[in-house]
Subunit: 542 residues, 2 copies
């Protein structure tokens, strides 16, 4: 028997209309690369979305199901594009500007983008590959001077495009299961793979992240979106801010620690997101030049890679700012878990508490997790049994875009993350490693992530990346590549071995160390272990 409830599709239009009707006075603030600051309201943005919708449908001929690309930093017009494009039933494909030229060419052709909206500052990256793009009919320039010159064909200026359009537009009826956004994975192995979000998954993800146990966002917050809009939709924050009525602060390309600190202070930002690399940089910059007044920042949500215990502790002790570990993947919209303490942890020691906060945490409602061991059995939730993390839920992919890769899914419908994890009795998941980064030495598993986290707690170490290297006796053994905080400093291998022996047993501790200037990173700021392995194989890691 059907319930007798209205058919009310969960679409991005619903989010936009809600933001306008209840929070039209809330602000979107952009810090542009030239140092200027732009501020407007949700209500202003709403009207520009409607102008954009008219321009897309009438001037550019975009239809339901068409792909429209964006190649841009975080700023007001990019938020308008999120809503304007999906609002008319088209799909907003946020192109990751940090991919290689070849990858960018591939994903634009693979997605069949008809129009690309591109930041003037990023035009050179597209000019190189423009002749190879098969489907793009127009390039629309954002923040370009009127006399801007480019070799890109069929260009328009964003402001010209929407200037003479009406701010009235009747949204079409959209099925909530239709696609609203497309992101490609960062492609550390092979070509990037497309992940096609639906209106429903976007809405449910944003609604859930608002809740107190998750991101805890309300109309009292001012949120800095450091995670780029070209990276998994900035973790859905442009959607959730409209639902929660949080002011949105957008840094465009200003991602240097000093620039971020300036924005945090000027805009009285109290919440933010970002990968650990960013926060590590901000932490060290704050240590070098401590701010005169306490920052308004209360907490930062971290994902992408693991937040180390030492960074959690440093931020909290030195600046009273809380790091909150979250976990997810492009394939999971992205957020799947968050690690926050509960009353049941109140009696634990500070160290035990940090250990829990450094885990990836508990699943959100709408997300299910399980660990499957090598023998195909579901592992007990004992916090010890390691196996592959598998996930299912209301915002997890069922398939990659235009790709038949059954190997990523189980027969009973779970997505295989490729992470090696445990889940404890209270549901806290901990990633031990990527399947391919786990080190198997003498038949025993060693977690590279655990070693890295421990090494980065050393007072002289800024970054540490651990990979497996071949060993005659043990088949594999760990190699640690170390970046020192102060390049004039030195640290001996023996000192590090001794340091690690407080936490690890002998066979787990690397005997081999290399000291480098910087850990190679992927396009989304994660340690690029594939690159480190390549450098080692070519004898360039010394």
């Amino acid at each position: 028997m059907k319930g007798l409830i209205m058919d009310y599709p969960l679409t991005t239009n619903t989010i936009l209309e809600y933001g306008n009707s209840v929070y039209h006075h809330k602000k979107i603030i952009t810090h542009l690369p030239d140092g200027t600051r732009h501020e407007y309201s949700f209500g202003d943005m709403y009207k520009r979305c409607k102008k954009l919708a008219n321009a897309l449908t009438q001037k550019l001929g975009i239809k339901n199901g068409d792909m429209v690309g964006t190649f841009a930093w975080n700023h007001g017009p990019h938020v308008e594009l999120y809503y304007g494009i999906s609002g008319i039933g088209a799909v907003c494909h946020t192109i990751n500007i940090r991919l290689s030229s070849h990858q960018i060419e591939y994903i634009i052709n693979n997605s069949e983008d008809k129009v690309i909206f591109v930041d003037a500052t990023l035009v050179p990256l597209l000019e190189k590959i423009a002749p190879l793009l098969e489907t793009v009919e127009h390039f629309v320039l954002i923040n370009a001077a009127q006399d801007f010159t480019t070799t890109l064909p069929n260009t328009l200026h964003y402001e010209d495009l929407i200037a003479d359009q009406s701010d009235h537009f009747e949204w079409p009826a959209i099925n909530e299961n239709d696609a609203s956004g497309l992101c490609y994975t960062s492609g550390t192995t092979g070509l990037p793979k497309g992940v096609l979000y639906s209106h429903r998954s976007t809405f449910l993800h944003a609604t859930t992240i608002m809740s107190p146990n998750a991101g805890n966002f309300s109309n009292r917050d001012t949120v800095l979106l450091i995670v780029p809009q070209f990276h998994v939709m900035a973790w859905g924050f442009p959607y959730l801010c409209l639902l929660s009525g949080s002011n949105m602060v957008l840094p465009s390309s200003n991602l240097q620690p000093e620039a971020i600190i300036k924005i945090l202070i000027e805009e009285k930002v109290n919440k933010a997101n970002g990968v650990p690399t960013i926060w590590l940089g901000v932490y060290h910059a704050l240590k070098m030049n401590p701010p005169k007044e306490k920052l308004a920042l209360e907490e930062y949500l971290v994902g992408g890679s693991a937040l180390t215990k030492s960074l959690i502790q440093g931020f909290e002790k030195d600046f009273g700012i809380k790091g909150v570990q979250a976990w997810g993947m492009t394939e999971t919209s992205p957020l799947g878990t968050v690690s926050r303490l509960q009353p049941l942890h109140d009696s634990l020691s500070e160290d035990e508490k940090i250990t829990i906060r450094a885990k990836q945490g508990t699943a959100f409602p709408g997300v299910e997790l399980r660990i499957v061991t090598d023998d195909g059995k579901v592992a007990p939730t004992d916090g010890k049994t390691m196996g592959e993390l598998q996930i299912k839920g209301a915002w997890t992919i069922s398939s990659y875009f235009k790709t038949n890769n059954h190997e990523s899914f189980t027969e009973d419908g779970w997505f295989k993350t490729g992470d090696v994890s445990t889940i404890d009795q209270d549901g806290y998941m901990e990633i031990k490693d990527r399947t391919k980064d786990l080190i198997k030495s003498g038949g025993e598993w060693i977690s590279s992530v655990a070693l890295e986290s421990a090494l980065m707690a050393h007072p002289k170490i800024k970054e540490a990346a651990v990979i497996a290297i071949p060993d005659e006796k043990w088949v594999e053994k760990p190699l640690a590549s170390i970046v020192l905080l102060n390049s004039d400093d030195t640290v001996s291998d023996e000192e590090l071995i001794d340091f690690l022996s407080r936490e690890f047993v002998k066979y787990q501790i690397p005997k081999d160390y290399v000291y480098i200037n910087e850990v190679p990173k992927t396009s989304v700021g994660k340690f690029d272990k594939k690159e480190i392995r390549r450098l080692f194989a070519e004898g360039k890691l010394t």
Copy 2:
């Protein structure tokens, strides 16, 4: 183009499984009428739901789509019934014990309940009508002694029913649009009408109410569910507590102010729900016997009728407890709006702030509101233009159960609430009156609710209900029925007229007053204006 996201139905089973996997250690505490206290965990409850599911399907032959009634107060087994019944694909019909015998007979026959689960203490109410029930095959007694005797046919004891069942049960696949629960309206006009909730509406309502701008529920909370489970599913709290990991405290029939205060203290309850009548009682009881220590209670969520400014102020000033006004109807699952202050109100005076908090508030994401004036036009959001409040959303009904009542819906798909309201520029809705309770005097509208709220702020007045009575000159005029706080006290009509003249213009102020011992109330604790009008018409209101 479809998004490539898993089909993950939003069902009550998802909620139960989530509560068990992440919050199995959280508590459900029941205070039984005999003074005993029962405590168990979400994990314990989960196992009993599975036993119940086995019993329902195998012992009682309940099938997908069957109706199963409950006739019970708030307690652990009643929560188990919510999940166990809807979990197998049947529909949980929570029968309002406060309806008249005739209405109860009508709704049981109308819904075609196959089994009714009934509290031992409530059996007498059913015994009277049992011979008239056409579809009920079994009565299952909850909390009944083994030697309990009853004239009800085919009885079983709840604990016996589930005792020998397995706590393993594979939930069937359920379409999220299928019915999960049935509630009848309280029927102040005509026969009660059935409202059939879906799994999806139940899930989305609960998820949304968790968010900081709404109910703000987390795993740090201990929540007292004063709203009966037989009244709009206790406002969805048995669902949201499992999603948010909040401890659930259930008072069974202990709804006297002193009993509630005892529970608040003993269980360190920090959040609660309830109708204004309950909170008015609690407030006066606290004033009479101020607690030795500050209560843990931080805020109470109120709906059903308007929270008066004087009660908001009294609770806050005297006990530091915040009253939060919400609004909804059985037809809207029920919660549609809540009134909380935002940063934009920070600079207002205390009085202006209270005025906003006494409004019904802003819509939740997933809910849309509009005001339609007598001429059929959508009113501007100016906070002044009155008209009928209409609502649509993801948990609003599309039709009543087994009833063709097109008059409750507009042609473009909105539900007509029958409330006369305004919406201001910030989206705050304020109910001025029920359409039928509005007084039209000399061609001008007078709001009975506004008069009642003002009168109840008078220090000598406990309750005030205002109705329209016929008048030769003005067609209608207001009559105020007054309950004094202290029955030995007196107050003159002139004193009240003078008191009201500070807020109202002359034509709005009642000239007629009657002093009564108690305002008649509906089955859900609202002022029963139909009954007051009847008493007046029969000359019994003096």
